[in-house]
């Protein structure tokens, strides 16, 4: 393995014992203004470039700045990194970095028994303790006895370290996250120069901030190395990833990259209509940067206009995309119906979050499956796809555009907050290996009919304005077969309803065989979809290691479902469906296949832990 980025420095000579371990889970937690997301991302990128496999879980409040020191204001970032395959952000942190009493209080319950807590001792004063609801100082009352607590005066040490930079006290304090990061870099034997380079380019125009942050980072590193409270550090070898070139991506980045790739492969221009909404806005931010590719981004006045403009762009021949989260989908539903009726290609991304209503904007959930499959007026079939990992979001975006254009239909992608913000090492594909998405416009006026059909796909022609002699009118009123004229004829309506259903149902012809993790038959099959993929696979691995006959599958095509599912289900004695909702896929599978599947579910706004799944399955075996 080689690396593109320099990783030479910071292999500082250290005299403390180093213990090699396979993986570790750490969680950075602090006030939402403490820079925990940034700190976590830096640790992630350093570890990824170092060569570990990783999985991350950012967990932040919906408020931008909840009152400082309060429990609702706590922001966290968890990362699981290792030398073996890492599929989830980890069930329980081994190390918790708590920047204040509130961060300790919110997170300590998740920590593994005997785990390590690094606390900013300076912040454990009466006011902060009070804000966190502590009646006495947990660092002094023995309540943390079962953990290894490393009390570190992060604020004062940071202020000391950055003196030379000339920053005042208030600004200087902001550097304490880098001091903490320095400590953790030492603990896990990571080089710090990647972060140094990042600081230098990020704060290019402000040399004193660069100086202070770098000083804090290095001071943290050397502090851990020299102080006696840090006794051991750990090394985690590079992971045995498949050969190739890698980068780190979040799910939302991957969707944006997939969309740009689809644009290049289709020879069309990409139009992204969107309205700001958590946790989907990052797709808009990402695509808005790609003007030089000719990407058109339209921040509309509302969710409805965002999809309306996208559908208009599709009518006019652009590759059209709109993205939102559940409440936005509710607003877009009427337009999705129009896209079904007018049979125009359009990809709609739903980054699911906790619902109903405004729900839990920054927390993950998978509770919009019914909304995606059924949530419109009339018989309104829409293909639905669900990526399983952040990197898979790239491929699902391309697949969605392919289906949309090949079948002339809107396509829904169900991602979720966990996939959107979580990241993993992603093998960068060879562009030439990605098939073309070339679906030409209709141009031939001879016998042109707007609602004639391709024999294989039942797709109607894509006849865009500007094409001579193809002038025609479309709309939401029922269409007469072939001519596309308005028709209220009962027979025609019955025919068209069935035709639209058939067109979507036969997409099964494009769905590859379902991959089974484990044996193709056995006692138990765990079925999952979306972001639970990692937890389900790891739970399956755990159960198999115990000698149990358990396999699992991931469903990427929710509508239509893969054609081989019935056969696969028949080969297992018990079928479990694990999902973060009240059992929506479970209901769909029961009604479709008449199987007595068992639902494993929770709706806490957090991903499954591996044990949550494995223990429930085991209890049934």
């Amino acid at each position: 393995m080689s690396t593109e980025t320099e990783t030479s420095a910071a292999t500082v000579e250290t005299h403390k014992p180093s213990v090699e371990i396979g993986s570790a889970v750490i969680r950075f937690a602090g006030d939402s203004g403490d820079g925990m997301q940034l700190t976590g991302t830096q640790f992630t990128n350093t570890s990824a470039v170092f060569g570990n496999d990783i999985s991350t879980l950012p967990d932040f409040p919906a408020e931008i700045r909840a009152p400082a020191g309060s429990l609702p204001g706590v922001s966290g970032f968890q990362i699981n990194f290792g030398s073996h395959e890492i599929r989830t952000p980890g069930d329980q942190p081994d190390v918790l970095i708590a920047m204040n009493p509130a961060a300790l209080k919110v997170n300590v319950g998740d920590l593994v028994e005997g785990g390590t807590i690094i606390v900013n001792e300076d912040s454990f004063q009466a006011t902060n303790l009070d804000k966190a609801g502590y009646t006495e100082n947990p660092l002094e009352n023995g309540s943390l006895e079962s953990f290894r607590v490393l009390k570190t005066p992060l604020t004062s040490l940071t202020l000391e370290a950055i003196k030379a930079s000339g920053l005042d006290r208030k600004q200087g304090q902001r550097c304490k996250n880098f001091f903490a990061l320095g400590i953790v870099y030492w603990m896990y034997d990571r080089p710090f120069d990647h972060t140094v380079n990042w600081i230098k380019s990020k704060f290019e125009r402000n040399p004193s901030i660069v100086e202070a942050n770098v000083a804090a980072l290095k001071a943290g590193y050397y502090y851990a190395e020299t102080t006696e409270i840090f006794t051991t550090h750990y090394s985690i070898r590079k992971a045995n990833l498949a050969p190739g070139k890698y980068r780190n991506v979040t799910g939302n980045q991957a969707i944006a990259l997939g969309a740009v790739t689809a644009m290049e492969k289709s020879g069309r221009e990409l139009f992204y209509g969107s309205y700001p909404i958590t946790p989907a806005s990052d797709i808009l931010h990402e695509l808005a940067r790609y003007k030089k590719f000719g990407v058109k981004t339209f921040q509309a006045e509302d969710e409805i206009a965002a999809i309306g403009a996208a559908l208009g762009a599709s009518f006019a021949g652009d590759l059209a995309l709109t993205g939102t989260s559940g409440p936005g989908i509710a607003l877009k539903s009427e337009f999705i119906g129009l896209a079904v009726m007018t049979e125009l290609p359009l990809v709609i991304v739903n980054i699911q979050r906790g619902g109903p209503s405004t729900g839990l904007p920054t927390k993950t959930e998978q509770s919009d499956l019914f909304q995606a499959v059924y949530g419109r007026n009339g018989e309104c079939p829409v293909p639905v796809l669900a990526p399983g990992t952040p990197g898979d979001c790239f491929w699902i975006a391309i697949e969605a555009f392919r289906i949309a254009m090949r079948y002339m239909t809107p396509v829904l992608i169900l991602s979720d907050g966990y996939l959107a913000n979580g990241s993993e090492p992603w093998m960068i594909p060879e562009i030439n290996d990605i098939p073309d998405l070339c679906f030409p416009n209709a141009t031939d006026p001879e016998n042109f009919q707007p609602y004639s059909r391709d024999k294989e796909t039942l797709a109607r022609p894509w006849a865009v304005p500007g094409t001579p002699q193809l002038e025609h009118r479309i709309g939401g009123l029922e269409k007469q077969d072939i001519t596309g004229n308005v028709s209220y004829d009962p027979q025609n309506h019955d025919y068209m309803v069935r035709l639209r259903a058939k067109k979507v149902a036969q997409i099964t012809q494009d769905i590859p065989p379902t991959e089974i993790y484990g044996e193709p038959e056995g006692d138990a099959l765990i079925v999952g979809w979306g972001g639970t993929h990692g937890a389900i696979t790891s739970a399956t691995e755990l159960l198999r290691a115990k000698g149990l006959s358990v396999s699992s599958i991931q469903i990427r095509h929710i509508n239509p479902l893969p054609p081989d599912l019935k056969d696969i289900f028949s080969r297992f004695k018990k079928v479990f469906v694990a999902e973060i909702n009240m059992g929506q896929l479970w209901t769909l599978l029961r009604s479709t296949y008449l199987i007595d599947a068992i639902s494993i579910n929770q709706v806490r706004g957090k991903p499954f832990t591996i044990r949550e799944i494995s223990q429930q399955v085991e209890s049934h075996l």
Partner: protein, 344 residues
Amino acid sequence: MTAKNDTGTLEINLNRKDFVSDQEVRWCPGCGDYAILAQMQKMVPNLGIPREKFVFVSGIGCSSRFPYYMNTFGFHTIHGRAPAVATGIKLANPDLKVFVITGDGDGLSIGGNHLIHCIRRNVDLTIVLFNNRIYGLTKGQFSPTSEMGKKTKSTPYGSVDNSINPLCVAIASEATFVARSIDIDTKHLGEILERAANHRGISFVEVYQNCNIFNDGAFTDFTERSKRSDHVLYLEDGQPMRFGKDKEKGIALRGMTPEIVEVGENHSVEDLLIHEETSPEPTLAYLLTRLNYPNFPVPVGVFRNVEKPEYSDLCQDQSRQAQEKEGKGNLEKLLHSGDTWTVT
């Protein structure tokens, strides 16, 4: 009809019939919509644009059936949302000539939000709002432009809603072209539609349109041929605001308040307000929208006509500048951007 297209080389020979679709028109006999359709079909050949470049987009309502009757590209969308769809069409292909056909319910009630935002962006669209002050397709409920106290099926005791003035909304949204016409004043209507269509940027035209089934005669007090001269003020750029059979009356300002004056002994033409549609400030245009029957003659014509950068141009410029500055996007580079590492 002969005209030149945008390249100035090809002769385009189109006439009214080329724009008549094969669909049977299904408005109620006597509906004002027929007149607007006829004027539109007559006007569009004058624009010198190939037929395939026209797109008519509409929402829901009687007026929104309009695209089916135009032999161009057309999109009958959903209630109130036509401006959004039209914006997407224009951004996808700025070369197209896009019209939005809407009504008082579609454009000002359910679609009010889209209307104001589409206008403020100055997208190159021509919006024609058919104002009949009633919901026709749903059979006779009051609309946002119905007068207060109006008795309808949904307001048997009279409406307690204040009404909204479409042109005030357009001007408040910074529309660059604002006009009004009347369905039965066909010549004026045709001229106004053509001026609107030739405006680069957003053009907004309110057409008083009679619904002879659910709100018959809503405008007849001032639109009937015999009454027009006394009750309609035809706005002409650069001209004093005069009306009456012999142009004997005019509009003057007392302080900030408009008043009707008789041109003659006490007032001369010089005392009258001069219409200035290109005024950069919309104050006068706004004041004119407040003139209403019966206290004042109802102004028709072009209220406001100014130039501002157009939305799809601005979007294209941004892309062009990004490409000039950063070079054309390279997918390979994009996928490989950020920190990368190789596993062998």
